[in-house]
Structure formats: structure tokens, C-alpha cells
Symmetry: D2
Subunit: 374 residues, 4 copies
């Protein structure tokens, strides 16, 4: 009811604030027998970690997870898993500004309106800090879908400001392309088009110097997803993935396949005709093109799932903005603290985690109803 849980068969519940003791997630419904260590969790946590590159906030968090429950002798037991990630770099500082003033683009005002009270330190529960445990849960979800059907989720940055990456086949992008540039250095902006990546880095550094921020688009692709996942009529796979992505801070739009471009097209252009391929296990039904983004009737079609999320520019700006105080009296604010000038590079592992969680959830739900599945 109060919204701090997500998923049904693979269900996560979270708690935690930006500057409280830490963030915790309980993962319920994970199949037993899956190998899991804290090291497994660390890889994606490091991809999300603040301080990882010059493009992101310099808040210093090691984001070391503690496995509190649900894992024994290195494997999941089938009972609920709990992971705690403590906050360590809660700078002792003066919050008087955001205690009494509402930061434009933030949830300060809406939390006060909702609860009459709020933990104003660093945005409290509305801070993107809470996503740290989503990423940990996402690692487990990725293991579930990899084991169940070889499923794989990979995200990257498609657009920053007016710089748009050239990606001919989203399903072909590899983790290596996302994380590493052709010259072997870290791809700190996580854009698989090296030329665009360089321009994005430049743009982000420019906006930071200008005490500003910039928006963008992340594209996330799930491959090897079998046809048949997703539930009619309300829990369509596209509905649940969209909910998952819109549950993330700063997401302003979500689209699949053609997305908003479909509005301009004729049906004869938009439809993906069917054909089949002969394989060792029989004929596989596929579509020519993937305008539909991997789901039809809200159920996976066997084609790659391709989704894009529009992420707004960071709202926290180190420049003066017009605002009001709690009592409505006029004021202005310059947000201090350490912030990403562009959210996209760190959004990638978070978006991946949410998509993986939806796929794990829908796989278990589907397996429950159908049976006879591995």
C-alpha cells in the first residue's frame, strides 16, 4: 500500500534514507540454490557508485553490502534475503537551507505536503541514494534470469543533451562496449558509440563548469527472453517495466521499440511481419524488424526487449534559483552538496536492475501458472 515494495513472485521491499544509517532491501521469492556472495553484488554496485569517475558526484561511499539473511553456505536458501548497505559519507553539515526551503525540481515540497514532516538531510527517502539496494537486488534478479533462460539485460546511454549515439542494433551491444572504450580506458559515460561518448563527456564537463546540468536518454535491452512472459491485462510486461523505470527518480518518459515515433506512422509501416527460422529445435517464429520492442499484447514475443527512458537534468544546481520557504514566503536557493551534472552514466546499472527484477518476477509468475518449466 505505502509503496516500498515492488514485484510479486520476486519481490523487493526497501527502506533507507540518504543520510540515515543505511539502506536495506528484503528480497522475497528468490529460488533456492543460486550461488551468491557479496562479491557478486559489488560489480554493479561499483558501476553505480558515487566517486567512480570525474563525471559523477564525489560523495565517497564504498557501498559494501552485508548479507544479513537468506544465504547459507554460499547459496540462496529460498527464504527471504536481506542486504544492508550502510551510508558512510554523511557529511556533517548545515542543512538549514533545505530544511526550510524547497529545492526546485526536488521532492521537498511534495514530501512535506504528503507527510507533514520529512527527513530533509540530503533529500531523505527521495534521494537517489535509495537506488543502491535496488542495484543489489538487481544482481540477484540477473542471476535468476540467466539461470532460467539465459536472459541478459544491458543498458547504455543513448543521448546526452543534443548528442545522440548511433546504435544500429541495440541487441548487439556488449557490456564491454558499455564499460570500456576501444582504447582500453574506462567508458565513463557508458555510451557504446565512442565518438558520441567523447562528445557527451565534453558536454557534461561543460555544463558542470557552467554550474548547470543536462538530461539524456538511456536505452536498455533484454536479450534471450523467451516468448510468453507478461500477464494480461493490467500486468503487461510493458506496463511493469514502465512502472519499474518510472519508479526511478528523474525519469520523465518511457518508450518501447518505435516509441513516440509510432504516432507519425501508418500501420503498414509500423507492423513487424512474421517469418520463421529453422533451428535444431524446430521453427522459431520471429519478426522482420523490431518496431514493437519485443512485446505484443504486453507479452514478450521472443525478440529483444528494447526500452528507452528519458532522464531529466539533475535538479540540484549550484546556482541561485527562485523558490519559497515552507510557509510560502519567497526565497532563493543555491544547492550545495555533491551532485552529478548528468544522471545518465550512473543511471545505466540502476535501469538494468529494474528491468531484470521485472523479468525475474514475470518468469516466476509465468512458471507458477504454466508449470513444466525449468
Amino acid at each position: 500500500m505505502a509503496g516500498n515494495s515492488f514485484g510479486q513472485a520476486f519481490r523487493i521491499s526497501t527502506a533507507g534514507e540518504s543520510h540515515g544509517p543505511g539502506n536495506v532491501v528484503i528480497i522475497d521469492g528468490c529460488p533456492p540454490g543460486i550461488p551468491l556472495t557479496v562479491e557478486d553484488l559489488q560489480f554493479d554496485l561499483d558501476r553505480r557508485r558515487p566517486g567512480q569517475s570525474r563525471l559523477v558526484t564525489q560523495r565517497d561511499e564504498s557501498d559494501t553490502p552485508e548479507l544479513l539473511a537468506g544465504v547459507f553456505d554460499g547459496i540462496t536458501t529460498g527464504t527471504s534475503i536481506a542486504i544492508l548497505i550502510r551510508n558512510t559519507d554523511q557529511k556533517s553539515r548545515d542543512y538549514a537551507d533545505i530544511k526550510d526551503k524547497y529545492r526546485p525540481g526536488h521532492a521537498d515540497h511534495t514530501y512535506d505536503a504528503k507527510y507533514g514532516v520529512r527527513d530533509y538531510r540530503g533529500g531523505g527517502r527521495a534521494s537517489a541514494r535509495e537506488t543502491v539496494v535496488r542495484v543489489a537486488a538487481g544482481v540477484i534478479a540477473k542471476k535468476v534470469i540467466a539461470r532460467a533462460f539465459g536472459g541478459h539485460v544491458i543498458g547504455y546511454v543513448r543521448q546526452v543533451g543534443d548528442v545522440i549515439a548511433q546504435v544500429d542494433d541495440p541487441a548487439s551491444i556488449t557490456l564491454d562496449q558499455v564499460e570500456t572504450l576501444p582504447d582500453g580506458t574506462a567508458n565513463i559515460v557508458r555510451c557504446p558509440d565512442p565518438e558520441a561518448a567523447a562528445q557527451m563527456v565534453e558536454l557534461i564537463e561543460t555544463v558542470r563548469k557552467e554550474q548547470d546540468s543536462v538530461g539524456g536518454v538511456s536505452e536498455i535491452v533484454a536479450t534471450s527472453v523467451p516468448a510468453g512472459l507478461g500477464e494480461p491485462v493490467f500486468d503487461k510486461l510493458k506496463a511493469d517495466i514502465a512502472k519499474a523505470l518510472f519508479s526511478l527518480p528523474a525519469v520523465m518518459g518511457v518508450e518501447y521499440g518505435l516509441g513516440f515515433a509510432c504516432a507519425h506512422l501508418r500501420g503498414s509501416e509500423a507492423n513487424d511481419p512474421y517469418y520463421s527460422e529453422q533451428g535444431p529445435g524446430g521453427r522459431t517464429i520471429r519478426t522482420r524488424g523490431n518496431h514493437h520492442g519485443g512485446m505484443l499484447g504486453g507479452i514478450s514475443s521472443g525478440m529483444p526487449i528494447v526500452v528507452r527512458a528519458a532522464v531529466k537534468p539533475t535538479s540540484s544546481l549550484p546556482r541561485e534559483q527562485e523558490t519559497v520557504q515552507r510557509d510560502g514566503s519567497p526565497s532563493s536557493i543555491r544547492t550545495r552538496g555533491r551532485h552529478d551534472p548528468c544522471l545518465l552514466p550512473r543511471f545505466v546499472p540502476i535501469g538494468e536492475a529494474m528491468v531484470a527484477i521485472v523479468l525475474a518476477d514475470h518468469y516466476l509468475r509465468h512458471r507458477g501458472q504454466r508449470g513444466g518449466l525449468p
Copy 2:
């Protein structure tokens, strides 16, 4: 789990197929004491009804609802409400084509992959026919939010193909503008910009003649929504509205406020500064501009909620398309039956219904946690 329910405090569960006996909805959690008659339901049902204009399918359904439960002496009792809408115009005809072949852009293949069996008559449960009971439930949701906080949800067609309506202030659009043209005739395309409306009608008639279809965008606006609705962190209002709209057939994208345009902007452009207005009950906090679309941190801000849904061109085309049979062997199909060449005009009341249901649900959830609310 199996996805035929939506909402929590105001919860709907549905069943029904395109060519079965009918569609039924159970609405659970509706407050007691709300006046409700079948006539109340009919207005929006008529806005969604096939056969209402020359632009839409000529399937002849009166869509007369029967109130089976939950209403006594003309008011809701607080117990579960059930509404049945029978199918009456299930044309007795030959379904051999869609029984054995998969229609491009449809859920025929994915349902078979999911269940191993499907009701192929008219698309079965995947048909947009199922939305008829969502509209009925939406009428009740509209009553709930009107009574609780004077909330009002109105949708319209913003784009068809390349024709884009001019709408300066979404929150100012009236039902009258959506339903009636300045000359007093019916606004059959439901676009509040009369000039664009005329072009849209022309375009839709053209594509029909070409045995084709066309996509578009619907914009839906909720006004008088108080600040404070929506739940952190997964059940953000924007997450649940997006899920609601993506649960509708043919929706390929959803965006709020600036939407995907935010990717191109700087934070200093995108942020909506706060100011306040002195009113009889004290200062009201508002934003200059509504780039954020009425929600911050996923919680309503008190500004109008503005959401757009991209709707793909109707997949059913009365022209030959490449496809396969169930066994994967190549084939082709020309969809017969009665179809809308553009889904947008009838999408409007359906989209409104889903947004209203989310708002009613979140209001009751919020009232439960906070208390002291009317």
C-alpha cells in the same frame, strides 16, 4: 499474480473476451455513499462505444451495463461492485484465418506462446474489447475523486500522424471542447484544436481509403489534484499512471510534462521555480511553468498532472501482410472484421478512466495512512 487486477485501495478485477458472453469488472474498495446508476456509467461508455461515428469500427454494441452488486437504493454500499456488459454483436463468421495464422502487431503469437491455447475469436482477451469495463470502473473513480477533492480528468487527441494540435494550456481544456466543435457538431476525433481536428479527420479518412491505419498521441490532464498523492518509492504516482496507460493495448510510450524533450535541456531550463499565491486559506505553493508535469519525487505537486501516451497505428489491416502459421510455416493474412483506422478518438475515454482509477486509488491509500482527510 496473473495480472487481471489493478489498484490496491480502489481495485478493479476484470474478465472477458472479445467474442465471449461479455465482460465483467469487480470494483473493490469504493467508498460507501456514492450515488451510482447505470445511466451514470453510460456517458463514458458511449464515448468509447464502437459505431459512434464514421471514424470508428462499425461493430454494433449498445454496451449497456448491468449493476450486479455493491449498489443499493442508488448508492454504493462500500462492498464490492460488479458490472457486467454483455457482448451482443459477435458476428457469426469464419475465424479459420486467425485461428491458424498470426496477425502482425497482434498478440496471437504471444498468447499461444504463453498459454499453449487461446480464444482466437476477435483476439479473445487481448482485444481492446476488454477496456469496456475499465471505462465503467473509471466512471466510478471519477466520482470518487470529484467528491474527495474536486478532481477532474480530461483527455483529448494531441496528434494523429503528422497533425499536431496546438494546445497552449492543457489544464484549460474542457470536456465541451473535446466533444463538440465550435459549430456545434460532434468533435468526432476529440481534438480540442478545431483546425487540427479537421485535418485529423481528413487524414484518418484517407488512411482508411488506403486500407491502412495511423498512430497518434493522446494527452490526459488531471486538475485540482492536491499535493501529496503518490507513494515512495516504487508506487510513485508517475509510475502507477504509466503502468495504467501502458496496460492499454497499442500504447508504445508515455511521458509527463517535458517528457522526452527534457533530454535536450539544461537543469536551469528544466526546473520549475517555486512561488506562492495568497489565497483565502493561506499561501498556496505553485511552480512557474509545469515542466515537471504535476509530480515531483513521484508525488503530486498540486499543479495539473499532464501525461501523454503514444498509440501505435491499428495493427489490423485490410491488406495483405506477411506472416506465419502456428507451426511457423510462411503465410500471409488480410485482416477482416471491423476496425478503427485510428485508435485515438476512442482511446480518450479509456485513458481518462485509467488515470482516474490511479488517482482514486492513491487518494484512498493516502487517506488511510494520513487520516484526518474528508
Copy 3:
């Protein structure tokens, strides 16, 4: 939230009142491919039907179900199933008495307190009339568990007033023993001990003549349930079966195996030691005795599940009882209408239905998490 749904993977949602148009159930999550006809539903509906014998209310309902959705060509499709059972014998009569007065032992007062309004005709939603669609759903659940693991649920009357049946091995009782006496006549009280059955019939007829009613106990047994169903820690199988039975009108107590008798015992007496039996598929682990009632740690042990429900005497009495009016002023009431002098005989199929629904639900949930199950 508002309580008109039950179960998760196999989920039923219901609506309907005693004297409204009818009762409807939506069953969500039923596996596809299960043969289902209205005739299948009728058998248990007839076992629950009013008017079936001289022991029960003479309200005349045929209880003919209509399958509105989810079944095509005689088999379930995997989409939501809807069943409607219309009320036909709603006697047109004067409800002034129960409109203004509260019947002792009934929900008249509590519904008014809850909702401020109620459908007073025949008890409205609080009438046991609503269980008619539970029985229909239970038939489908019985099919699910029979197909999945050969599961079988059978109930009977164990006690009426001071008459207690002798049942040495609950797991050995057959449907035939419950429905038919050794002489071939109908076992109208549904007690498998013929001697006790005769005494129960006599007792029930006596209390009816005395314008009174009498309570009793029903025992329900589930056999061939594999070890492993039930979820830690809150959704223990014993917790969900208890909730299912306590959700029925008039149930005042539920116990498993030893039940309340365990309070008097030592651990050395109460524990069931383990042993194993060699079978064709390996050793089967069993317990000596079944004090534990078929569940340990809330998870099925592979032994028969044995549960008892205490059912209070019918509250509606055709004799004067002290009560109050809505405004609290003193009054008295003699309940008219047609009532069972003892609820137990018709309770049997209703209790069975609820236990079967829980088992179907938990089987699908378990299969989802574990996989590799038929």
C-alpha cells in the same frame, strides 16, 4: 485492501448480495488447458444448494452457473475466468424489521458501523449466500490440485451439538460415505458415522421444532498433498487454511491435528516420530501418527492435512430475541425468512472449496519459486 479477494497465484474476487441480482466470481491465475463445463460446477453447487433436504432452508435456488469468460472450447485458457450465479428466489417481502433492527448474532450492526449504510435485504453481502461462488471456484481448485498432484479434499460433519461422530482415520473417509448412507439413501447431514448421522438428524429436527438452532464441527481432510507446500513465515499453509475457514460466516474456531488438545500434553506425547517406507521411487518419509495435522513449520509434511472448524448455531431464530434499533432504542426481533436450523450439512462443500483454493494457490506459488514441477 477491501477484502473481496482471496489467494495470490490462484486468486478469487467476488461480489454479490443475498437479494441482489446475483453473485459473481473472477478466478485469476488458473492454469490453461483444464477441461471445465457448467456441469462440472453443478455437483458441488448442488451439495451446497438450499432446498436439497428437509434439514436445510427451503429457499428455492437452482444455482445455475453461467461461465462468462476464461473458458473456450471446453477448456480454461489461462486468462481470468468469470462465473455468474443469479439469485432467483428473492422473495418480495417486507424487510422493515431488519432494516431498522439489528438481529443478534448477525452483521447488521457491524455493517452499519462500518459503512453507515447497508443492503439489509437478507443480510446483503454478509449473508452466507455469497459462498455460492466460492463453491464454484472451489470446483476449479479441486481440478487444479487433482491434476497437479492427485490431491483430494473431503469434508464431513464431525459434531452436531453433543453428538460426536466416531472417525478413526480421517484420511480414509470417502465422498460416498459422506453423501450416502449404507442403506443407499442420502446422508443428508453429511456425517460418515451412520449411527451419529442418525442422531444428528434427530437433534436438528428437534431444535427446529423448538424454534432454535444448534452448532457443530466440520472436519476437512486433504490427501495426497506432497511435502513442501506453504510459505514461511507469514503465509504458512496452516495460516492460510485458517484464514480461509475463518473467512466463512459462523466459524468460531479452527484447529489442526491435536488442536486444542495439545495444551494438555507433554512434548513426548505430542511429537510424531519419523520413519520411512520403501516404495518404488525410493524411501518416503512419514510420521507415526498425525498429531501435527499434516503441516510442520507451516509447510505440508506429506501426511494428510486434517483441520476442524467450529461452526456456531444459526443466529437467525424464529423466536423473540432482545435487540435494539439503529438509534439504540430497545426492541425485540423474531427473525422470519427461511434458515437452516444447523449450518453444518451445507458447510461441508463450502469448507472443502476454501481448503482446495488454498492448496491450489500454494501449489502454484511453490511451483513458481521452485520450477521443474509438473
Copy 4:
């Protein structure tokens, strides 16, 4: 789905094992503005704590809770609350016995059957150790109902073995009577009848000397509960309280008011007639007697809620019992470790917690649907 959450509007999710790092609970939906400190949690945790008296296990746990989230400046914020209680006295010892053998009366076998793997240390997730965080959550629930309607939940031991306490008016029992004997010493058995308490202590000490254990009954009473809580038809208050209590280890039966005794009675004896009392705020409707246990139609009647739970004798016995090994081969086991010879004294705060959680949940649910409530 996987059962580690309970409640809807006031919802708890838990994780943790007997001998893992600790137990954690996330409480979602708690109203904002409630004062809460770790000291508040400690009182009931101490009532449940091992080692508190000579009657209970001597495992040494301080059960010190850490508030990880959801509380700021000493009050709840309305966002999810997380509480961690670490295990400190996990004796390093040899678990070979319970690793390979199934303890009679325990969940060792059923967990293996369910998951194929289990954390065998001290029973893992099936240990009553998991209830420690339920008690912490229960403290918060008690605060919610006290603030909302002055609600109060108190439990005590009604029976141990054949010793049954005399309790004339359950609603009159005070916490002081439960915790302290007339002579000022601790009432270590938590029975409010001092004479019975003395006999219970003696009996428990006797069975411990005999290397045995003994069962009993706890009675829990909720007072000042307004009429109107509980939802038709599946989420009746009696159904949810029963589920809550049956979700606790060792509970074999639950009954309300007359309970199983109702089977012996006539309706004319069992019904509670209504009368009314004139108070300052108008007439209050009450019943003569409380055979119904405070709920009618599953909805609270305004009378005290009285529920009893039968708790089996501790299954762990320090004496040889017949059992099998994992492979089914015959064996025997003598449970070592530190165990309570009677579970009842420590059951009291646990049972109270579960009843309080159900009442808090149903109050918030009711308030959401009805509105206008404090």
C-alpha cells in the same frame, strides 16, 4: 507470494535466521508523526527475550534493536521503517546432528522437501527466533492503535497442561497483573490468576526435570476497538487475526469468544442480545455477554476482542526420539541446545504483537475507505 510479508496498509516484511547475522523487519505504511525510540521497542523485546527467567531458554541475547530507516528527530516520517536485531549468542557448536537428521515436530524435513536445501543451524528461518522482529513491529502497531482509537492489546497465559487459570472478565486484565504477582515479584509465567500461575511454574519445572515439555493456551484481548474494523468477505477481522496467530510457530488452534464450545450450544444460548447504554456522546450499542468474541460478520462489534491460541509442547526434547536421516534411513535424535520447556510465557508478547499489527492494518484500511477519521 513467498510469504515473508504480512498486512496491507500496515505491512511488515521480515528476513533472518536463528544463527545468521540477525533479523530485520521493514514496516511499510506507518503513519507519520509517531514518536519512536529504540527504548520504546525494548520493553516488549525484553518480555520476549530468552534468558529473562528460569522458565525459559538461557540463550543469551540482548535483543538490542537498531533503527535503520523511517524515523527522524524521534518521530516516524511515514516512509518505510527498518529495524535490525543482530544475533549475538550463536554458539559455535556442532550441527552435524540436525544437519543430517530430522527433529520430530520441527520443520527440518518440510524445509528440505520445499527448497532442497536449508540453513540447519538452530532451525534457520523456521526458528522462533524470527519472531523477535515481529515484536518490534508490534510495538509500533500498538502505538498506532493507541493513538488512533485508544486501542490496547494484552495477552496472558490461560492454560499450561491441565492447569487452567480462572479469568472472569478477560477485558479487565491489566499488564501489571500479567507481569507482576501480588507479592511484587515477577509473574514469570504471565498468568493473571496467581494461584494458577504458581501451579504452572511448578508444572513447567517438573516437565523440564523430566526432560520433557508441555503445551498450553494463551488468551489475547483487545479493548477499546471501535465497531467497524474488518473487511468482508475474505479479510474478516477474525480471519486475519487467525492467520496472524497461526503464522506463529507451534500454534495448533485458534478460537474466539465461545470458540469450540459453540458446537455444543443452541442458538438461543449462543446469541448475544443487543442493548444500549446512554453516554455523553449518545447511545452506545453493546451486547449482553461476549460469546461472539468481539466480531460479527467478521467486523468488530465494539465489544472486546477475545481470542485464544493453543500452543503445542516444545518439540525440541533433550531425550531420545525416533527419527530418520535425510535419505530416509532410520535413526534417533536427542535435541541439544537451549530450549523453553513451555513456550507460553514468551508467547504472550509475540501473540500481542500479531494482534496489534492486524488491528493497525485494519484501522488504516478502514480509514482509507471511509475517510473522516482521525
